[in-house]
């Protein structure tokens, strides 16, 4: 009995039970993940990369994503700038293993696979890293609750996630993330990402949430912005057009379709 009590005590302190809602940090993180997960989606988005001197690089893309079993497949086409227009990408987002990526270059009429094992790598030359853009594997991290904070006038949980080991930390290039999730709808409003020395590295902000799927109560942010506080570069991703669901079939998410 005594043993059990100690064990429970330990467990309680580890998972950090929230007094108000009785949700653990991990449960909050999972809810935040669920709230924005949809099975299929089509959108036109703009990625603006801004350097410390304020110069911009703009990438406009249209994309379609669809979930097939455990795999989310994304098909993407560049609309602008003109010199990369028609460049296509195909991404297989594997839940528990490395992603598969292909790129089609119309000027060469060639499709090439991209080997990407490094989640810390930049996403299309922006300040977003691949791990910022994809959904993390829940089991790779430990979750802990900090005290609630106000973000943009809304009360938020602060969920602190740390990699379970150094390899995962190295792979993500980050030793700690603090995610601010609203207490009412579980929307992620802000993330603070710390580098391997636990110095603040990037701050990500999400805005323009709206209901994309009323039936399943799913939300989507229209704008994501990341600021690298160490080199003063910024990147902004805006979702210009979003449509729930996709008419594309699984055979469309292949390299041969990419080249069409």
């Amino acid at each position: 009995m005594k043993k059990l009590l100690i064990l429970t005590g330990l467990l309680l302190s580890v998972i950090g039970i929230n007094a108000q809602s009785n949700l653990t940090a991990r449960q909050i993180a999972e809810k935040a993940k669920d709230i924005s997960e949809v099975d299929a989606l089509e959108m036109v988005s703009t990625l603006t990369i801004i350097d410390a001197k304020g110069r911009e690089r703009v990438r406009k893309t249209s994309s379609a994503s669809k979930k097939f079993g455990q795999q989310t497949k994304t098909l993407m086409k560049f609309l602008a700038p003109a010199d990369v227009k028609g460049t296509g990408m195909l991404i297989y987002d594997n839940e528990e293993s490395n992603d598969d990526m292909w790129i089609y270059m119309p000027a060469l009429r060639k499709t090439r696979r991209i080997v990407s094992s490094d989640k810390a790598k930049s996403f299309m030359g922006s300040e977003f890293s691949n791990s910022d853009m994809s959904v993390p594997s829940m089991n790779d991290f430990n979750y802990e609750l900090g005290s609630n904070q106000m973000v943009d006038g809304e009360e938020c949980y602060s969920v602190i996630s740390t990699p379970i080991n150094e390899d995962i930390a190295d792979e993500n290039g980050s030793a700690k993330r603090v995610v601010y999730i609203t207490t009412d709808k579980f929307l992620t409003l802000k993330q603070e990402i710390y580098d391997l020395d636990e110095d603040l590295w990037k701050v990500m902000a999400y805005s323009g949430y709206y209901v994309i799927d009323t039936a399943n109560d799913k939300y989507m942010a229209k704008k994501m912005e990341v600021k690298n506080v160490q080199n003063d570069r910024r990147s902004v991703m805006t979702m210009d057009k979003i449509q729930l669901g996709s008419s594309l079939k699984e055979e469309h998410f292949t390299t041969s379709y990419l080249e069409k």
């Binding site: 990369v84 270059m105 119309p106 000027a107 080997v115 030359g125």
Partner: protein
Amino acid sequence: MKLANFIERFKLWIILGSLAFTVAIGVALKDAEVDSNLKNFIPKELPSRINSDRMEEIFGASDPVMILLKSDDVLNRETLLRIKRITKSLNRKDEVSKMASLFTSKDIKGIDGAMVVDPAVKRIPKTDEQKEVLRNTLKQNTFAYGMIVSENFKYTGIVVTPAKSIDDQQLTSVVESALEEFPGEEEVLYGGVPYIRKFIEQDINKDFGMLMPIALLIMLFFLYFSFREKRGVLLPFSVVILSIVIAMGLIPLIGWKVTMLSVLAPIMMIAIANNYGIHYIARYQELNAKHPNMSMSDIVKNTITHLKAPTLMAGLTTVVGILGLLSHIMKPARQLGVVAALGVVFALLLSMFFIPAFLFYLKKGKPIASFSEDKKSFLATVLNGIADFVVKAPKTILIVTAVLALVAGMGIFSIKVDSDSANMFPADHPVKISTNVINEEFGGSLNMNIMVEGDIKDPVIMKAMEQVELELDGFKGVGDVFSIATALKEMSKAINEPGDPFYNKIPDSREAIAQYLELYSMNGDPEDFEQMVDFDFTKAIVTIRVSDASQETTKAIVAKVEEIIKGFQFDNSVGGYLLMQYDLARFIVQGQTNSLIFAVLAIAIMIGIIFCSFWAAFIGSIPLLMADLLLFGTMGYAGIKLDTSTAMLSSIMIGIGVDYTIHFMHRYRHQLSSGNTAAEAVRITLNSTGRGIVLNAFSVMIGFCVLFISAFLSLKLFGFLIIFSILSCLLSAIIIIPALALVFKPKFFNKSNA
């Protein structure tokens, strides 16, 4: 007697005033700062400097440290582990902004139709087989082979770029503690501009700490052996000390910084400042020995009256000669000119006022033995011998002089210019050693850069950059050439199969180039190309690494580059440290010639005015021309190159060396007007003023002797050459001038003293 009476009357005020003035200026010394940046030797208005500064501003390059590790095989597990740990540890330091080593350099390759961008060393090999696989991979890697690992795999480099506003001291101590934290068997060398600057700063401080006390000590001994009297030592010596304080105090007072050339200022003061005082002491001792009945006051007054004219002339000509440095293009050389000239002016005033003012307070000392007839000193014997020789064979002397001048003159044509700052250090200096390794194993320590402007993704521009690389490949002295075009070609090899028309080629369409780069951005780091192309692809840099920075090789490379870029139909500019050094060297020759002509002309005019004669100007400048011919002839024959320090030789030498001629001519004229024959006048002059002249010259030479132990090779050479030329000035003054006087009997010598 007006001046003498004035000095006697105000002696206390003169002494106190001199001391107070020195203290007032000396206070500024506490604010003195050292500037070790060799780049500041290069004038800001030089086109290559303007271009280089602009490139640095755009590409934000700050000078990195290069750590070189040497081992039998750098692919050994222990060595690689050490490099990995050092890289990782340094990468996490706030002081460091960027790292490059085998673990961060990129390897762009194609595997099964995929472009893979990996670190040059992804995994540390465990077996010999894996090690050889890695070796072969590295040999294929354009960005690593011969760039970050030497081709014989004995050296590898770790490049550490500092974060903003981190100074050399902070950076080097972080680097060194990282190497201590992860010890190993490998031999470690440090290189790169921060280390060069650090060593220069250390050496400047070492030079000041070592050279000054030693030079002063030698000077004390020299003065004691010359005069064997306390006042003969202390009075000239105090003039030296006060002048050093003034000259050095002026540097921070004007708002300048202490540079490598500033080391010369106190040494020059030690050598020059006592020149005038020595004549006062020599004259006082001469009168004291020869006229036992004269009172001290009369002796001092006679000395003042007799010496005021030649001292003033000698001092002013020295000042004018040193001011020749003002025509120099290097700012530190001009600063040295100003500071040293003002120091000499002060020393001159002290010698003319402070020394006699002090002498008025003293009692007569014991007469010095060397003036009595029976006990001839060695110096007196030598001077007597010279007088005999000159009187007997003046024509022979002039013929030998003419032949010597001709032979030396021919040597001038083989004189070479050296602008490679690495040569300032002796062969065993850490900077020199690491520079040599970088030159031999890593393609070169100095860069020349071509910046192109326009639409960088345009195939025309991209192919032009490739052309630079192709045409300079294998060119003498060129180590590596790389640009974004090099990277693009590597991508083309990774994406396309051999035999494919796109393989190893800059594509012909802008779209294809853009798509290569887009593909790269999917799996490389955004910073990978930061040093080759700017953010919006409007400016790119071609880097040419040069391993042989000699003037001849650089000249050929510069000409080749100019030929290549002539065909460029878009904006471009050329810069880089190599080019700046090359330009600087050209201006050094120009500066040398300018200051030489200026100094000789100015001094000739001054002598002409003093003696009211064109012939005096002509004859008086012969020793200077002779010394210059011998100096540059010797440099030409001995292969000593003109560099930043030796370029200042003639100005300094002429300013100092002319004194001996003036003292000789002045006394000689005095003797002629007192009714002596020419031959008698030569003998008397050599035996009287000759002593002061020789002591003066030797005190200068001895003063400059300490430069032999300077940490800077070029200052050592400077020391040797200045001593050599002072000696030629001395010999010219006491041999050639009397020979000319005896043979040509110029009329101006017969005019009495005005």
